[in-house]
Symmetry: C2
Subunit: 403 residues, 2 copies
């Protein structure tokens, strides 16, 4: 069991013990924002035959009168046009995406024509091949429609539908549960006694876990439960979830309620204690294939721990590559304190014409919620750093799921 390790070592421990979840088939519209489990290649070309790109008329190469008028074959409905090749001087109605008769030279849209009886006059200059979608012009047979382990977007769904697919294989979403352990935390809905506060980490974690693709199975506090009941609840929920997040009760050594609980249920500790600020009192364990995280009960420490340790596990379980995205930014306002340990400040990052800027958000005490508002990046301050000067360069991590 590792102690007082770096966040990179902790992350590696987590990734080493995270398994890719199984596949499931979903109807297209349920698959948006899920992670595709298989590469899909085009089994035919798209379009699979030449089609009209507009609603209008397919034209033979030369007009009937040598100028701009055609004989309109109006006996054929749009989808019957394959039955009769165009003769010289002929035109026939076609629809967007519909077939074109043999010998089609170009297609002209309705609004560029005047029809009088079976006489079609074209009011624009026609170029060969105009408004014809050639077979395979969008996708060729064998082209990749979607890569394995990629996020499924609306455009992918459109493309899969164009190929007649009505479902798609995705990775199952991780099932997750949250338990706020601190004895002075009461759930929203209960009136707190003096010395008690409402559980704010539970809703924070519940919302973040769902943003990152987790299915929230249960969100509880330890309030009103005996240690035996808590242990029983944890063992029961671990049979149902891929990830259990404990928050609070992570303080050091003998009184470490979270760590004691994890040890008592027979989970294998991966690490306990990471050398960061805020949230050094944090750990992870494994029971069967379920990951258990212990996050600090302080709001900002809990939030930072979620982003550094829990979010990567959620990503890896769904087939994403959970690397942090460090970038260099200019810190617009600085930070007045030295950093003994490696420190993760909550920041608001934004590109503008001066480059990538990040603002240290107000309320950076670990006990405060305020710094989470508008936070979309963590500012990664090395251990032993002096105060951050306004205008200096810092390293930031963009958050996939901002607070």
């Amino acid at each position: 069991m590792l102690e007082n390790i770096t966040p990179e070592e902790a992350r590696q421990q987590i990734i080493n013990h995270t398994r890719l979840l199984s596949e499931e088939q979903l109807p297209l519209l349920k698959a948006a924002d899920r992670i595709c489990a298989r590469e899909i290649l085009a089994d035919t070309s798209l379009p699979s035959y030449a089609q009209s790109a507009v609603d209008g008329y397919a034209l033979a190469e030369n007009p009937a009168d040598g100028k701009d008028a055609y004989w309109l074959n109006s006996n054929l409905k749009a989808h019957e046009n394959l039955l009769a090749p165009l003769q010289a001087g002929q035109a026939v109605g076609v629809v967007t995406g519909g077939t074109l008769p043999h010998n089609t030279w170009a297609v002209v849209p309705h609004e560029k024509t005047v029809v009088k009886g079976n006489h079609l006059q074209v009011r624009e200059t026609i170029k060969a091949g105009q408004n014809i979608k050639m077979a395979g012009e969008d996708y060729a047979q064998g082209d990749q429609l979607i890569a394995r382990a990629s996020l499924i977007t609306p455009a992918h769904l459109s493309l899969l539908a164009a190929y007649g697919q009505d479902n798609v294989a995705v990775y199952r979403q991780p099932r997750v549960a949250v338990l706020s352990l601190s004895e002075n935390i009461v759930p929203v809905g209960i009136n707190p006694a003096v010395g008690q506060v409402w559980d704010s980490n539970g809703p924070l974690l519940g919302a973040l876990l769902q943003k990152d693709g987790g299915t929230l199975i249960s969100l509880q506090t330890a309030w009103g439960r005996t240690p035996v009941e808590i242990k029983r609840w944890v063992l029961n929920i671990l049979e149902q979830v891929d990830i259990l997040v404990l928050t609070g009760g992570t303080y050091a050594e003998t009184d470490n309620e979270a760590r004691l609980l994890v040890e008592e249920i027979g989970a294998k500790l991966l690490y306990w204690g990471v050398d960061i600020q805020p949230g050094s009192h944090t750990g992870a364990a494994l029971l069967g294939s379920s990951l258990i995280f212990g996050l600090s009960g302080n709001p900002a420490a809990c939030a930072v721990g979620y982003q550094l340790f829990v979010a990567p596990a959620l990503q890896a379980m769904q087939g994403l590559t959970p690397y942090p995205k460090h970038q260099t930014a200019i810190c617009s306002n600085g930070f007045p304190k030295k950093s003994g340990s490696r420190r993760f400040l909550r920041g608001q990052a934004e590109w503008n014409d001066d480059g990538l800027q990040v603002t240290v958000l107000p309320g950076q005490k670990p006990s405060m919620i305020r710094s989470l508002l508008n936070c979309n990046a963590l500012i990664d301050i090395p251990a032993g750093s002096p105060p951050v000067e306004a205008g200096s360069k810092v390293s930031i991590i963009w958050l996939d799921s901002a607070f």
Copy 2:
């Protein structure tokens, strides 16, 4: 009724006829990513009394032995400490977020102490007020917790929970339906005959509408229905939805199936025809308070029309301000065609150290799906523009919900 108007005029027509939807109360965890319907102010300070910021010990001002050791009052549990003010030289256990006894001078975390019986030795230099959360240090009474008409984030949920709120007022989500009108479109699951293609716009629109907060009530094609049945279906669905999106059948003049349908059901046409490329054949109408959009059946034209006209309506109905976000970008690769009409190219925009760059995506024909893949911005090319040179400045619109 307006014809051949600018996209800005069309958007204004839509916004003028869009009503803000009613409020509903949701439990916190159902409210993530919804739009808050009311400003919420802090009714008390947070924390409402001084609290410990860590699990550890509250210390009196001076140690018992004049150096670094205190008498530990271990008869009191953490939450009973209010009962007995600290005496000189005394310490008492406290928990994160818990109360502090009167006369607390500072708090020291567990891990910086050694306890032997009722003797507490402190292993770090203590400063006055250390690890004490002052009443109101996070939020003062009257501070804004969330603004009206703002997107509810995980941080907001955490903050509302910290104030004991178990639900929040949000704007109702627009109910939406989609009907693919073109006669040669068949739904996925049906084998297309020659001249027929699968419906790819339906899944595209369904996914986009849901990303923008819509609740998808029905997604249909006109396939296999008579005009009378289509009209009946449309009238019925308009009693259930706030927005109906028609796609396909929008071609010009007398054969405009979408426009004829809208007129037949007695809807008020707001406009028909917008002077853009792709997707000039597009319109909007109003029946009661329901908006009806007619979008082109060509994939890229349908997609551009969705972003320019439908997405703003969805945003306005939920209380968001639907202004397009134009920014100037460098076009990295250019575009070889002149633009007679105002043209919206599909692009991939990205900030980097050289500023904001946009790449024109491959497959820009209106009939192609390919340009939607990786598209997160529209490139807005003025009417009458020459080809776009690589490296030239262009105006882009970031998409709130990328393809």
